[in-house]
Amino acid sequence: MTWADYHTQSERFAADAELAVRQGAIERSIALYRLAAQAQAHALAELDVTKTRTLGITAVSAVALWYKAGDYPQAQRIAHQWLGTDLLPPFAVEQLQGLLQTMWSDLVREHAGVKFTGGEVLVSVKGGEIVTGGAPLDLIVRKVEEVRALFYRTAELLIRAPHRKHGPPTAEIQELCRPWLFQAALGSYQFVVRVQQPAQMNLLPNEALQIEKVATTLLQIIKASADDPEDALAEVVPDTEYRATFLKLTRNLAPTGKGFGQLEVKPISATDTRPIILLPGSREAINHALKKQSTPPPDPSVREEVQLRGVLRALHLDQDWPEITIDSSTGQKPIRIYEAGETVEDVVGPMVNRGVIIDAFVTRDGRNLLRDIQAAE
């Protein structure tokens, strides 16, 4: 039999296995995935190794099928065997490393002794100053804070808590939704976030069900914010205040292209979801959506709209006259920005002492009224 014969056989078994998964016949699906993996391994053995692209696709396919069959030792053996050669194209190397990472993550979770909710989120930061396995500490701390803020906001959305404008999430939310950070190996700088299962005695059954969905809902929100911030996001997040906050939190995650060039978010245990990639262009699309949503000039005395760049030095959102002071490009010139009361703390909090871009309306008496603020780096 040729590569094509074995590959065709593998395709048929894999398609039947998917059907069995949809029918809930898990044992049958595992047996079919095993047959598909065996056929793919035979296809790999029959292939002319100078056909680099076909080799890479087949090797990834074989490892993925052993993984889906639950045979991690076999999947890892084949992955290591082919990663140990110089025969694979770069995309296949990256995908095999990703599959190994998924398996290691599964094993770590099994041995952790802590119960987690369904789903986990892999965040990887690439480009710019990022090297494999290393990144500036302040950048990563900021990204971790931003991801944590998104988890809390998603939990609040799911349990239908009122939209929070100031302060941290309540102690109840922090107890319900406790994100854990795991290290993730290989490629760029990566970390994995899972949510610990809350203690059952503290929960109403409905809340427990909702918290189970935090990771998957969060991924839906980030995907909608990145792909279709104007329409698709409205379906996932009908509430306009929540929607604006999620858009701003997702924009915070996206790169400007200076410090890093790409941020990727993906589930690492699901089998049917592709990564969500945030690029500098994602910021522009979100800015466009936010501008369409934001209200027109609140004061008829508004003279013009300006964009200010500087460093956010102070933030007093609880005061009736909130104050944001920036360093202007001409030196240490504090500028007070008014009417920042609608700005939510977890969006702007991480920006303190960092470069920011502020869109403001300027009134005839020279006051700056905040329209939007985003990180400049």
């Binding site: 590569w3 056909k51 104007e230 049917d272 699309a285």
Partner: protein, 85 residues
């Protein structure tokens, strides 16, 4: 024509090619990267396609590929070839 499918860590990729494409390997096939939207006008479909092309070309991608978006509301299918730089 859809020629073959192969598994990845995140699902299955489909490979397409012209009707006379040889079936004994995937060297000349295009990986199909497609999604759909049931909202938005033609410009929204085009915007989504640009984003899809941008994503398909990032990093160590398996190229060449065909990126496509099906706009159900706009009644429009947009496809574009994504080749290695």
């Amino acid at each position: 024509m859809a020629i073959r499918r192969a598994e990845t860590g995140t699902g299955a990729d489909y490979y397409i090619g012209p009707p006379d494409q040889p079936l004994d390997d995937l060297e000349g096939c295009l990986r199909l990267e497609v999604s759909g939207t049931d909202r938005g006008t033609a410009s929204a479909v085009a915007r989504r396609l640009r984003k899809k092309i941008e994503q398909a070309a990032v990093g160590n991608s398996n190229l060449p590929a065909m990126a496509g978006v099906v706009g159900f509301y706009a009644q429009l299918i947009m496809l574009q070839l994504v080749e290695a730089p």
